[in-house]
Amino acid sequence: MQPLDLSAVDLVAAVRQGDVSAVQCTEAFLKRIEQVDGRVNAFLKVDREGALARAAAIDARRKAGGPLGPLAGLPVAVKDVLCTADMPTTCASRMLENFLPPYDAEVVRRLRAADAVIVGKTNMDEFAMGGSNENSAFATVHNPWDLTRAPGGSSGGSAACVAADMAPVAIGSDTGGSIRQPAALCGITGLKPTYGTVSRRGLIAFASSLDQIGPMARSAADCALVMETIAGHDAGDSTSLPHAVPRYTELLEQPLTGLRIGRVAAHFAEGLDPEVARGVEEAFAAFKAAGATIHEVELPHAKYGIPTYYLIAPCEASSNLARYDGAHYGHRAEPGKGHRAEPGKGHRAEPGTTFDSPLAEMYCRSRAEGFGPEVKRRIMLGTYALSAGYYDAYYAKALRVRRLIRQDYLDAFQQVDLIGGPTSATAAFALGEKSNDPLAMYLVDMYTVTANLAGIGGISFPCGFTKAGLPIGFQLQGPALAEPLLLRAADRYQRLTDWHLRRPKLPA
């Protein structure tokens, strides 16, 4: 039995039945990480000893006839934006390079309680800000389908590690598309649940009214399995929904008769790559052949999604990231060793800069040294948009457009059950192609940000490949709390197609 070839659902069953031990399973994935991650850079930290000890404890408990959790022996990779008390949590930032959280994120606690084996922390764009993973302060992630291309972002490490068989399941976070877009570019399945479905306690905050955690795996069925563990109310997150957790895996079996899927003509306007358009249209045709009906719907304000998002998210980020002050945790600038002293960088100090106090100077220098360029840009933009005289023109305006965007969805879901379309306008783009053009990078989330603004769920799964052999992603979006239907529709598609089973050629 080769654990790398099994789905998460089958792996958990195999461990439970004793066909494979948790240690064998963990060793197989750790070995694969050793063999290929030098080329992919999906992980920032691999906890070999911790994972093997955990797996051995699960095997011992099974031998003794003790109870096993629902994910017993399943290796899981966790995005480095989620706090782990036994591993540094860096957010791929110099700011948190040496940060050891004093507690586990609620999602991590639930995974451990379910007997999952956390194998390591995955690479990402710094503070989850980016669409290519090139904003990591530590290493650039390479797309396993073509190592010269970006895996997408910000959960690029999580997507790449699943695509390259380094873990059957990874946890990501999605503020504007950060689960769905890298899932599309890496040819895997990623679910961004309805806001409030998964607790954000211990998720390092980027934009708190948009952030949501979700599973990334090879299939919708595997995502459903993980959701049963990570979803559910948490009194430690005041935005956590009180609803009972659906039996996502059992609900997959319900028939899909009469499903109405919306298609938005504007998704196919200029900017969409023709090969992606073809893959997406074929997926619509497959759903139709499976008994669904396709209906044209409109989301008239969706075109304002990107500008709305790039006000609201930076405003919330500028507030959330004010906590990095060099005093409580994180990077602190040493006196007299400011960034102007960095050799070879050609920095000129801004003449005449003074600080209110030595403390203020420490704040300003620590933040300048600890944050990378994209994080600084967003803090600056948010601070500007919230500052006196601009608040109404920018932040308050964006909140009003946000309501219009949500209303468009509420109206559309009167006519259809789900809305389908492309996840990303293009397949994986080349590393370096957009990294010097912030605006071009912001547009990669054009099909995904509106779900975050409306608080609804979305799922991306592979629906074909380009001639160059790069995966194409199909996105389904649903009304609030429609995750069972999103997963069921994606699972039904995956029972009829094999795109999700294709693997990149990445020899050991």
Binding site: N98, L100, Y195, Y310, H328, E361, Y394
Partner: protein, 100 residues
């Protein structure tokens, strides 16, 4: 609405970011472009639309006012750049700092 280098320097000071002269030059150009992008929203008529700060129709959430376990002092200090075992240590809060 154009954004001057002076505006950007003011925002940097509000954001507690010590930007070098080069950073300020670059940031001014980049922010001008981004502000141009987000200014598209001005064309949307929102005169009768209330702001939506949060996707859920959420209400305040309360819990019983009962003591619960919290971090120990050692846990709270474990990642502090400087501490004395009881408190976070920081540079002087009052007094001028030298010019950059």
């Amino acid at each position: 609405m154009s954004l001057s280098r002076q505006d950007v320097a003011k925002v940097a000071s509000l954001a507690r970011l010590a930007l070098s002269a080069d950073d300020l030059d670059r940031m001014t150009g980049e922010l001008q472009k981004i502000v141009g992008l987000v200014s598209q929203l001005a064309e949307v008529d929102t005169s009768s639309v209330a702001p939506l700060a949060h996707p859920l129709d959420a209400e305040n959430v309360f819990r019983a006012d009962e003591p619960q376990p919290s971090l120990t002092t050692a846990e709270a200090l474990q990642s502090a750049p400087r501490h004395d075992g009881e408190c976070f240590l920081v540079p002087a809060v009052l007094g001028e700092s030298g010019a950059a």
